[in-house]
């Protein structure tokens, strides 16, 4: 899917809602737990009920892996079902993978070839080697972790970098992996996540790279828009984690919307009774209606 196609889908559905499928056998309604494919059955009902309000779905891989080979099968079934139900939906593998060369290529095969995901979330720690293989496949996206919504994002993501090359004690650090002289555009003390975004923007383009920026620090969205005006941002942290759609839209939206706001638990677990799908639809509709105000 291209940037423009994603934007068009957003304008058509009047929504930039992504629904996180953190589908947990212990939290889905009891009457589904005894079925042969409980996670898929749950997902199918949620998708049927919410697809007119959502432009994207984001299965969280951990929940499927925790069920072993059968969980993986239900993940495959879910992706196939979404694709059939509404081919315009953007499907994100929330996998947070990050490994080098030949290994990254295998992950790309798993998510983009075997399954028809549009995008995969990736950790940038190991650098370009761990992102570039995902950018080679036409129409597919890398979603790079930048500033996440969890408290310990401050352990490393916001650490201030030294931008003053005279102070380097190891000259090799003045060159990046492409052999380019390292002259950070960022001022002295810019946080790591800024360097992640600035460097990785050069590895891809707005049609294949977006960033995870948490809704829990909305004013940071405005800072990021200063140096990253065009890329889409995938924004978790609305709902259970406390962020608000209004603030995300206010600080993070660009001319092409540029936002996918993810909501997981407060939609999919809106009820754990037999009416769970209707309850999810209500919550999704409510979110989409608010989003429409800002589009």
């Amino acid at each position: 899917m291209t940037y423009l196609e994603l934007y068009n889908n957003i304008m058509r559905k009047k929504s930039f809602l992504c629904i996180g499928l953190d589908s947990d056998p212990a939290q889905i309604p009891e009457h589904l737990r005894e079925l042969e494919y409980p996670l898929f059955s749950f997902n199918k009902a949620i998708i049927d009920a919410t697809v007119s309000y959502a432009v994207a779905y984001k299965p969280n891989l951990a929940f499927y892996e925790a069920e072993g080979a059968k969980g993986w099968k239900q993940l495959e079934m879910t992706v196939e079902y979404i694709r059939k139900k509404d081919p315009s939906v953007f499907i994100i593998a929330d996998a947070k993978r990050g490994d080098i060369g030949n290994t990254a290529e295998r992950y790309a095969k798993a998510f983009f070839v075997n399954m028809d995901f549009d995008a995969v979330t990736l950790s940038p720690y190991m650098g370009k080697d761990s992102i570039a293989p995902f950018l080679k496949i036409q129409g597919k996206w890398a979603i790079v972790l930048a500033l996440t919504s969890n408290i310990s994002a401050d352990d490393f993501e916001t650490l201030p970098l030294l931008g003053n090359i005279q102070m380097f004690d190891d000259l090799s650090a003045m060159y990046d992996s492409e052999g380019l002289y390292f002259t950070p555009a960022a001022p002295v003390g810019a946080p790591l996540f800024k360097s992640v975004i600035e460097k990785s923007m050069r590895w891809g383009n707005i049609n294949n790279i977006m960033y995870v920026v948490g809704a829990t620090r909305p004013q940071k969205l405005a800072e990021i828009r200063m140096f990253c005006p065009n890329n889409f941002l995938l924004v978790p942290g609305v709902g259970a984690q406390g962020g608000s759609i209004a603030e995300v839209a206010r600080y993070g939206m660009n001319k092409s919307c540029g936002l996918l706001v993810n909501i997981s638990r407060s939609i999919i677990y809106a009820s754990n009774g037999e009416n769970f799908a209707e309850a999810a639809a209500e919550k999704a509709e409510e979110a989409a209606k608010e989003m429409a105000l800002y589009l």
Copy 2:
């Protein structure tokens, strides 16, 4: 497994060899490809032939995920087989996961409860939230990426940090996720990977946390031993990537060995004929014999 048990296994086998099971349907011998479980059949033969020389095995998750649900099943079969064959072997899920709270707990369930892995490799980007859930399970280990062996490790892992708090422009950055005042022990300009090791050492102990440090920059092992003398290091990059056992032992070994040196392709793909397992055994024996010299 405890630190001491791992050390005892190393001394008993006179080897600190970890064999990476990067088992790829396109690279295993042709006569195995038509079997029902080609990756498992390959792994089983490799394990049978090499288990007396290896203290650890490290399946690389990407290669199994690339085969879908059936790949995941063969991963489960492989872990079970290793555990049955030699219960003393340390089994590492090379998964490079990294996600928060409830999601990390699901990954821990996948690797430590459903499957009997001893350890999982983790990306530190998202901070303590993404490591701590793995440290809660008695006898299991988190192996945190520090300085990896790939070229683009220099994109972020070696970026120099600003250690001078007067220069912070955002006061919140002076506190880490535990609310502690941030007074880096590292001098101004210390690389990110040093901060990763120094902070995360406090989250666990030598019985449950080790670090990935590539063999391709052996002198960095000596630097790391200055501030991380006791933890085990998992060292990839020997063999196909160019690092040497001698240099890793010289710069990285501590009083309790403190090393697991991983070799993947140059052992498991030593031959692609019918004699592949014997060829792998020869290469593993050669590596172990060299390791014994340094123990």
